[in-house]
């Protein structure tokens, strides 16, 4: 498996941001009926989800998180040498949204900026890329987030009741004095690409009236080929077969015994899947984070958001031994065993909306 070891890099802070608009099980009941909605919620463990209003994008949420982090860390704009934005829901086909964010954050021209298109595995992939680039020196911002609800059919129960929108920012810097090491394991099974995809609206099958027409599909659902399609059974099968071994392999790589890990933070697909994976990987319930009840499955932002909501106090005050594991769309997977903390962990940032012209330096209305 791809991966390897990164040393001499520390995570200085993690911030997560969500939109201040929510959908609850009661809202879903209007579309799918009370019994069905309750049944889905019982399986997914999602009670409410943050759903971005029109015009509020993943980049806006990540911008709010990054601005807060830079301010609290006292990082100057000039000190940041790398900006990476991991998303599947960019602002534009081109340019890379990282370039737009570079401008909005007022970073210097000495800063490299690029996007990475990955979802549920994207946070750990982002940490891998960013930490390797920072090894040589300097500071970097890793922005990771998605507004998946923007590409979901509201009449497709396999996805419409599950996802939340969120963004995150992680600050990394070279720290030759640090004794901590990050051990990564990453992989891909591209044969699974068709099980979690938006089939049309890109260049292979461009946007058209026909492709964007919602039609009846399996299970009484309705969606277009420009909406997100998820084959839940295939995704579950992939996760069941891949994730327990991935966690074992990253623990072996780090030479850590399972019981010495302070917390396992997995991507948060659904409570049912998480509980099954935890049993299969024999992870102790007390050290296994489940944090989607109030936010939903937030795709690429799920791991940093879970760290913010479930581990903030401990990470702010102590060093923890963590295993972070992302898996999904691609199919793609990545896991890292790392020590981190104490680090800056602001509470979840709630973003009301965006003011002004998005193409220029816009002001975000932020609640803390």
């Amino acid at each position: 498996m791809a991966g390897g070891t990164v040393s001499g890099v520390r995570i200085a802070g993690i911030a997560s941001a969500v939109p201040n608009s929510w959908r609850t099980t009661a809202d879903d009941a209007v579309t799918f009926g009370e019994a069905e909605s309750a049944k889905i919620s019982q399986k997914t463990g999602v009670r409410r989800r943050c759903v971005a209003a029109d015009g509020l994008l993943a980049s806006d949420l990540c911008f709010a998180a990054a601005a807060r982090l830079m301010q609290d860390l006292n990082w100057t704009r000039e000190s940041i040498r790398t900006l990476i934005f991991v998303t599947q829901t960019p602002d534009y086909v081109l340019p890379a949204t990282s370039c737009v964010l570079h401008h909005r954050l007022g970073l210097s021209q000495e800063c490299a900026a690029f996007d990475v298109n990955l979802g549920c595995s994207g946070y750990v992939y982002g940490l891998w890329v960013t930490s390797r680039l920072v090894m040589g020196g300097g500071r970097a911002l890793l922005l990771v987030g998605d507004t998946i609800n923007r590409i979901v059919s509201p009449e497709d129960r396999s996805v419409a009741t599950l996802f939340g929108d969120a963004g995150s920012a992680t600050a990394l810097e070279a720290d030759p004095g640090t004794s901590t090491t990050m051990h990564f394991q990453l992989g891909t099974d591209g044969s699974g690409h068709k099980h979690l995809m938006v089939p049309a609206g890109g260049l292979r099958r461009p946007h058209s009236e026909e492709n964007s027409r919602r039609t009846p599909r399996e299970g009484g659902n309705s969606r277009s080929d420009e909406d997100l399609f998820m084959n839940g059974a295939e995704v579950f099968s992939f996760s069941m077969n891949k994730v327990p071994g991935l966690i074992t392999s990253v623990l072996d790589e780090a030479e850590w015994a399972l019981e010495t890990v302070d917390a396992f933070v997995l991507h948060q697909p659904s409570r049912f899947m998480l509980e099954h994976l935890a049993r299969r990987a024999k992870l102790p319930r007390s050290r296994f984070v489940i944090a989607l009840e109030d936010y939903g499955n937030t795709s690429s932002a799920s791991i940093p958001l879970a760290m913010t909501t479930s581990l903030a106090d401990r990470l702010a005050n102590s060093e923890l031994r963590l295993v972070l594991t992302g898996f999904g769309v691609g199919f793609s997977w990545a896991s890292v065993a790392l020590n981190c903390g104490p680090l800056l962990m602001p509470p979840v940032i709630v973003v009301d909306g965006v003011d002004g012209d998005l193409a220029s330096d816009s002001t975000l209305k932020v609640q803390v």
Binding site: K39, I40, K43, S158, E218, G219, N231, G232, A233, E234, F236, S237, M240, N241, F272, M273, H276, R279, R280
Partner: protein, 76 residues
Amino acid sequence: MGKNQFLLSLDELFELEPGALTGSETLDSLDGWDSLAVISLMALVDEQFGISLQPRQIAECTTIADLMGLVGDRIT
């Protein structure tokens, strides 16, 4: 695991009274047979038999007995 025990697990999965399923039922006739049930079945079989069912295998089943057949001789 015995056949009856597996049927009882399926009763629970379909939210039916214990003993309701006999094996001859067609899946289409069962209200609870949806994508969530498929995932629950995969988890159940994985935990109780250590078998990873492929979604394609499950899609080819038309009756409860077909589902039991996927577990094969693990059911005595």
